[in-house]
């Protein structure tokens, strides 16, 4: 296929130079075209926004000299959905439904940081009797750590696929499916859960969930070594990753990078240890670091973190076994959602007991239900920022309340957004093929970048 036959965009002359539109298998045309030019000092390549190797709709503008990248810039915003603005028009509880959709690979972290901010403003984030119950906190930890595993699996799987390691991709998605099955069992949904709510979680653990979780942990302990066997000492894998996308500690701090990228420099900064939330200080786990500050180090950090997550999941499952029947929502009836869903013969639905209560027995209960579900609760005026350690780094929600029933402003500091700024530093001066590896090692999720 030649570029001249492209109905929508062929090669053309502009004041900036000649423009080629490449859609595959037409490199000869380009090569000839470039040879035609008397002086071809620089080539600017627009990669994306739909290139399969750019982790979603990321656009890269690369300036090349031969195969060396001299300048790399990101164009983002293709997935901007106005979630933050939308949240200002919904109640505090409904906000969870929106923010869970931002970073679609780690939905529980989006919910968690927002909910932690709301709970801090409500003053129910402490340890007292009127704060979030223990079982809710343990369930949150359990879900977040399962989510970390599934997110890291996708990071490794897509990163592997982009350099041609297709087996890593297939087994990565195979294991991720197991985690999503657990999510479906516990929350009812594979993604976009809206499960963590201000005051606790939406639903108690279903019967049989703990057995499934334990079975998953046992299976993962067999399967995680496969990744190590496939990659850790694989000469091709190492040749592609080692020394690529180098960024040292000073660079990370200046550019605001956190998460596996920061830990791959050897600095053990993990908010779960340094500024614990949800009772992380009571779990036994280690912060994983590497000392190479490159893509290979980030891969190893992610691989090791999955092991640590399994440890935490095991501990959380043991605690949940002892917390059978404990409340999962704060006791304050002015905040807690009035009822839980029930499993009926046709699937999950409204609790018939609750409907009988509000429709047949107590008018006050009906009023209360109506007020809380339609109007919601008021959150005292102020602002809060409670970041969590998401799989990609520090994820925080700046939650501002004016004392009303809706967020006055919710801003998300998404680690993908911040970390993506390092693209230029990591890519410039390297080969064009290494740009893909460097970006994969950042593991940006465009849903979180653009929000």
């Amino acid at each position: 296929m030649s570029t001249d036959q492209d109905l929508y965009a062929g090669s053309s002359e502009t004041s900036e130079g000649r423009v080629f539109t490449v859609s595959g298998q037409d490199w000869d045309t380009i090569a000839e075209g470039l040879a035609d030019e008397e002086v071809m000092e620089r080539v600017v390549v627009n990669m994306g926004p739909q290139h399969p190797s750019t982790h979603g709709v990321l656009r890269l503008i690369l300036e090349l000299e031969g195969e060396t990248v001299t300048e790399a810039r990101c164009g983002i915003g293709y997935l901007h959905t106005g979630i933050e603005k939308n949240m200002e028009y919904r109640s505090w509880t409904q906000g969870v439904t929106f923010c869970t959709r931002m970073d679609y690979l780690s939905p529980f972290y989006n919910e968690m940081t927002y909910v932690l901010g709301v709970e801090r403003l409500l003053g129910i984030d402490g340890q007292g009797d009127d704060s979030v119950p223990e079982k809710a906190q343990v369930m949150r930890v359990l879900l977040m750590e399962l989510n970390r595993i599934s997110s890291h699996l996708v990071a490794i799987a897509t990163g592997g696929m982009e350099i041609g390691a297709l087996t890593v991709m297939t087994i990565g998605f195979r294991e991720r499916e197991l985690v999503l099955d657990l999510f479906e069992l516990i929350t009812g949904l594979r993604m976009n859960h809206a499960f963590i709510r201000p005051g606790g979680v939406a639903q108690d653990l279903p019967p049989g969930a703990l057995d499934e979780i334990r079975g998953f942990v046992a299976l993962m302990k067999k399967r995680l070594p496969e990744y190590a066997d496939l990659c850790n000492a694989n000469p091709i894998f190492k040749a592609r990753l080692e020394g690529v996308g180098h960024l040292d500690l000073a660079g990370c701090l200046a550019l605001g990078l956190t998460g596996p990228v920061l830990r791959s420099t050897g600095y053990p900064w993990d908010l779960r240890k340094s500024q614990p939330y949800c009772g992380y200080e009571t779990y036994e786990f280690d912060v994983q670091t590497w000392d190479t500050a490159d893509s290979y180090g980030r891969f190893r950090v992610r691989l090791n973190e999955m092991w640590e997550s399994l440890r935490i999941v095991e501990q959380a499952a043991d605690r949940l076994a002892k917390l059978d029947g404990a409340p999962v929502m704060v006791g304050d009836k002015k905040i807690a959602w009035p009822s839980q869903l029930a499993i009926g013969s046709d699937g999950m639905g409204n609790s018939l007991d609750h409907i009988r209560h509000i429709m047949g027995e107590s008018m006050e209960a009906l009023i209360h239900h109506f007020k809380l579900v339609t109007e919601g609760f008021r959150v005292p005026a102020g602002q809060a920022y409670v970041p969590v350690e998401s799989p990609r780094g520090e994820l925080g929600a700046h939650v501002v309340s004016d004392g009303g029933t809706r967020p006055f402003r919710a801003h998300f500091r998404d680690p993908s957004f911040t970390n993506l700024q390092a693209t230029s530093v990591m890519a410039e001066g390297g080969m064009v093929a290494d740009v893909i590896v460097a970006i994969a090692s950042i593991d940006p999720v465009m849903g979180g970048v653009d929000r």
Partner: protein
């Protein structure tokens, strides 16, 4: 006496925020809330139509702030005095275990540099820049909020800078925290705050030719009415809501 005065819907007694006793502690008003259920005009049969409540944010904290807050405030004060800044932080708010330093916008680069470099402060990482639009906070409608983290001391503080809508300029901090490059672009994109001396202050999430700044309060959410089973659901920003 006119007919209007005899009508059943008499206006409530004037209750300007000045007449409402302030809750304990100093508070800061950023607007008023009318009514109770977001209903306007004669459709309001709730009986709360005349209710006027001030919207107040947590007020200034008085010394001692408690814990390490005083250490940070003292260190910042001393460092600022050495740098020739008499009052570095005009207002400090301590609320829900978080400390906020309100800084004059012209002092922001100096204060940020001190916070980063002074060995007693060491706020190495700026987590984010977040804009907030308070349309009723006259003279300081646009706020830029910076969340700083000191990994050395494991502390978090918040800097808040305000600019009037008529002159939405705030000095850029990209030279001090390079990570703020995209954050300031986003805040400009969404709120129209112009960060002076930013290396390339362009839109980042919205298209380059987009009119307006979408996350300002005077910018509508947008949306179209949806018909469903004969009924019409208005877009979210035009639905009856609770305020």
């Amino acid at each position: 006496m006119s007919d209007e005065d005899k009508s059943p819907e008499q206006p409530a007694v004037e209750q300007s925020p000045d007449n409402v006793p302030a809750p304990t502690g100093e508070v800061r008003e950023v607007g008023v809330r009318h009514g109770m259920f977001g209903v306007r005009g004669t459709g309001d049969t709730s009986g709360y139509g005349g209710l006027v409540q001030p919207i107040v944010l947590p007020g200034d904290a008085q010394r001692p702030y408690g814990g390490w807050y005083d250490e940070v405030a003292d260190a910042l004060e001393h460092a600022a005095r050495d740098a020739g800044l008499e009052v570095a932080v005009p207002r400090v708010v301590v609320h829900r275990g978080e400390i906020t330093f309100h800084v004059r916008r012209e002092d922001l680069p100096t204060v940020a540099r001190l916070l980063r470099d002074d060995e007693r402060l060491r706020f190495e990482l700026c987590s984010s820049v977040s804009g907030v639009h308070y349309p009723d906070d006259t003279g300081a409608e646009l706020h830029a909020v910076y969340h700083l983290l000191s990994m050395t001391y494991n502390r978090r503080i918040r800097l808040e800078v305000a600019a009037p809508d008529a002159d939405p300029h705030i000095p850029s901090t990209v030279a001090i925290y390079p990570t703020n490059d995209w954050h300031e672009r986003e805040t400009f994109d969404m709120f129209g705050i112009v960060f002076d001396d930013h290396p390339a202050l362009t839109r980042i999430l919205m298209p380059d030719d987009w009119p307006g700044h979408p996350q300002r309060k005077d910018y509508p959410l947008g949306g179209i009415p949806v018909e469903y089973k004969g009924g019409t659901v208005p877009p979210p920003d035009q639905r009856r809501s609770y305020n």
